[in-house]
């Protein structure tokens, strides 16, 4: 890997790992952006060339462990004293299924294996959101337009005010309440996310646009509810209420965990948002280097041990995930050091911290943004941005 002279000179005043809220990010020149993009491309190429048995063994091992935990969780429901253990096993199973397996497989991270059981086209997760709808809103909308205001619907999920540049409205006084409800009902929030209810309210989308989606959601909800709230409880006979409560608790624990990890990915203070105009070069298009730049500055990591990383589906390496969304997530820790080093050389912020710090930062933001901006704090009034049209139509 080579770096040009100009880029190595930029190593002044780097504040790696700090998350200062209001500073504007360091801008890179088009030449720097290009060199920056090339360095990241080189890492990507190296990993792709190295994919093989180890990655396959890893993900198959995780799948096996997840299925074992699931079976154990279901079986332990027959032993009332073991109820907490059953719930724990089932919760971990659902977390693994949704995060380290589901999220990553559906990104196509393991498509190269040619295994239908690990194919982005076929995988369906243990979650009420149908995988095809999730792939559209997540893989396409969120990962392509990450943190572009008005384009990335994951900024506040159409419910919350998570960025200063989202215009305040009295509705947002409920920000903390909405966030709490979204946490408790996270899988339902994810399922309904695709319906773009906020756009229906705004008149940008009609109810009939959603007709095709309703069917898929209902089918998936029916299957999930039948399994967790009818069949498995019924199979335990007189323990029906206990099993039902256990399954519901496991789903709740998964919801809370996933919500917290995911909110630490893009909302801690210091994470940048962008406007469409900011992303365009002189040709009106975003360069590959700027795309990487935006993914880097729009994401935040969480530090932790190996088990913690697995339980987050390696989304604790949100930065690496956003740079390389289709590389197997187990590779993110491996390249993180290099990414950090590149950031240091270019003087770019690499936002990371322990879970409690990132969560605290997100919580403060949720509360702070519930209130209107204080006048004296915004020296240059944020102009009403012309909201670019949402990509609401879906390819057939």
């Amino acid at each position: 890997m080579t770096t040009t002279e100009t880029t190595t000179e930029t190593t002044t005043e780097t504040t790696t790992g700090t998350t200062t809220g209001s500073t504007t990010p360091k801008k890179l020149t088009p030449e720097q952006l290009e060199a920056f993009g090339e360095e990241l491309d080189a890492i990507r190429q190296r990993i792709i060339a190295d994919l093989g048995e180890e990655d396959a063994t890893y993900i198959r091992g995780i799948v096996k462990r997840q299925r074992q935990l699931e079976v154990a969780g279901r079986a332990l429901m027959y032993l009332p004293p073991a109820w907490p253990l059953a719930v724990a096993a089932l919760s971990v199973s659902k977390i693994l299924d949704n995060m380290e397996i589901g999220h990553n497989v559906m990104h196509g991270q393991y498509d190269w294996m040619g295994d239908p059981g690990l194919s982005s086209r076929m995988y369906e997760w243990d979650n009420v959101c149908p995988s095809d709808q999730w792939k559209y809103s997540h893989n396409y909308i969120h990962h392509t337009f990450t943190n572009i205001l008005g384009k990335d619907r994951d900024i506040g999920y159409g419910i919350l005010r998570m960025d200063e540049d989202q215009k305040w409205h009295p509705y947002y006084l409920g920000n903390p309440v909405y966030a709490f409800l979204l946490m408790v009902f996270f899988e339902w929030g994810v399922a309904l996310h695709d319906l773009e209810v906020e756009n229906i309210v705004a008149g940008k989308r009609t109810f009939s646009d959603n007709q095709a989606l309703h069917k898929g959601i209902l089918r998936k909800v029916r299957r999930q509810a039948l399994k967790d709230y009818v069949l498995f409880p019924a199979l335990t006979g007189p323990l029906f209420p206990l099993t039902l409560a256990g399954n519901a608790t496991a789903n709740l624990i998964r919801n809370i965990w996933a919500f917290n990890i995911i909110f630490c990915g893009h909302f801690p203070s210091g994470v940048e948002t962008f406007t469409e105009e900011e992303c365009q070069d002189e040709n009106g298009e975003e360069s590959r280097g700027h795309w990487y730049y935006r993914q880097l500055l729009g994401s935040a990591n969480i530090t932790g041990g190996r088990l913690f990383h697995i339980m987050t589906g390696n989304l604790s390496h949100q930065i690496e995930h956003h740079l390389f969304p289709d590389l197997p997530a187990r590779r993110y820790p491996e390249v993180a050091g290099e990414i950090r080093e590149i950031c240091r050389r270019y003087g770019l912020d690499y936002n990371t911290g322990p879970l409690r710090k990132q969560l605290g930062s997100v919580a403060r933001k949720i509360f702070r943004l519930a209130l209107p901006p204080r006048r004296e704090q915004s020296p240059e009034p944020v102009a009403e941005r012309p909201h670019p049209s949402q990509p609401t139509t879906r390819a057939a």
Partner: protein, 367 residues
């Protein structure tokens, strides 16, 4: 159906194992347990030829014991065989079944030539050992016998094959002899085969045995320069155009056979998909076919997505930069180059992201 099969295939179990399905759990316990998927254990590997003949690759026959989910096959059909080649990449190819018709869960054989460019065939011939688990489809294909060995007739059947194209017609011949009465095919069968050389002849011993017995089958084996010609066929089977014929072999031979039959509906053919010869990298030559829409036009070098859109097709897409996998489509033939990495791939029946895949030479995509 046994009780276990009934339970495994039940809707209740499907609901309990939703969204993954029963097989995703069973395979973790024993890869030979399956409710819907089909897998097989290799139970025997026999070398047919050693590949010593000039320009010939070795051939082996593999006996496969499938799971109970295998529904059997009709003589002449093929099966998709998926193996994990080194690098943990499951790769799938079609192989004609060479044994006589099989029933549910019954073992069968495939006979494979280790082509130089054939990743799976080389693996099966050189690396496969008893105990290896392979992934299967159900038997597929319409290149099958139209009549039953259960009833002797005075119909005449003609089977023409070249090289490893012998496998599906061998299955047909074996079926007629096994299921006919007293080891007789029950009709007149002419079995005409072209091999590169005597050493490269597959099933040579068995065919010689069949030739010597009174079973209604005439076996004609031709070698080397003695290639297919309409005149020779006319001497062997006068009025061959009005004879039910099954032909399978390499493309040059098949072209001659089709010419000889001049569009006669009595001719049934089977082609093997071979790795297409790749054009020069980055060039725009050959044709790009979108098979589902029936569109074929010269390759202009752009990505498959752009070429499809230029022809008025509307394939699904998302990011258009290779990250979201919305546009994944099946390339059935030809070579594509990943415009991001420059990596080329010529595997048939491969899923590609059409937004970052540009065809190199001719290419077919299921769109």
């Amino acid at each position: 159906m046994t009780v276990a099969e009934r339970i495994l295939g039940s809707r209740a179990l499907a609901a309990l194992t939703s969204p993954h399905g029963v097989d995703r759990y069973l395979e973790l316990v024993n890869p030979m347990w399956a409710a819907t998927e089909v897998r097989a254990t290799v139970v025997d590997v026999q070398r047919e030829t050693d590949g010593a003949a000039a320009g010939a690759a070795p051939v082996a026959t593999l006996t496969l014991q499938p799971t109970r989910t295998w529904r059997g096959h009709r003589a002449g059909q093929y099966v998709q065989v998926g193996v994990e080649v080194p690098g943990a990449r499951r790769t799938t190819r079609c192989f004609s079944i060479s044994s006589a018709e099989s029933g549910r869960g019954e073992p069968f054989t495939i006979t494979v030539r280790a082509h130089d460019e054939g990743l799976v065939s080389k693996f099966l011939v050189h690396e496969a050992r008893p105990g290896l688990i392979v992934h299967l489809s159900q038997a597929e294909g319409e290149f099958t016998l139209t009549e039953s060995p259960a009833t002797p007739t005075n119909n005449r059947l003609l089977m023409i094959s070249g090289g490893s194209g012998i496998t599906p017609v061998m299955s047909q011949l074996r079926t007629l002899l096994r299921d006919g009465y007293d080891g007789h095919a029950g009709r007149k069968v002419t079995f005409l085969h072209y091999a590169r050389s005597r050493e490269d002849q597959i099933f040579g011993e068995e065919l010689n045995g069949i030739a010597w017995q009174d079973n209604g089958v005439d076996v004609h084996l031709r070698y080397g320069d003695d290639v297919f010609s309409a005149e020779a066929l006319a001497r062997l089977v006068p009025g061959y155009r009005d004879t039910d014929t099954w032909a399978c072999g390499p493309a040059p031979m098949m072209a001659l056979v089709e010419e000889a039959y001049a569009g006669s509906p009595r001719l049934r053919t089977e082609f093997f998909k071979l790795g297409a010869t790749a054009g020069t990298s980055g060039s725009a030559e050959g044709d790009v076919a979108f098979t589902r829409s029936g569109s074929s036009a010269p390759n202009n070098g752009a990505t498959l997505l752009e070429q499809a859109e230029a022809r008025g097709l509307e394939p699904e897409f998302g990011c258009r930069m290779g990250i979201c996998f919305s546009c994944v489509s099946r390339k059935t033939e030809g070579t594509v180059r990943n415009v991001l990495t420059g990596e080329e791939s010529s595997l048939p029946d491969e899923d590609v992201r059409i937004c970052v895949s540009a065809p190199v030479g001719s290419c077919s995509v299921d769109l």
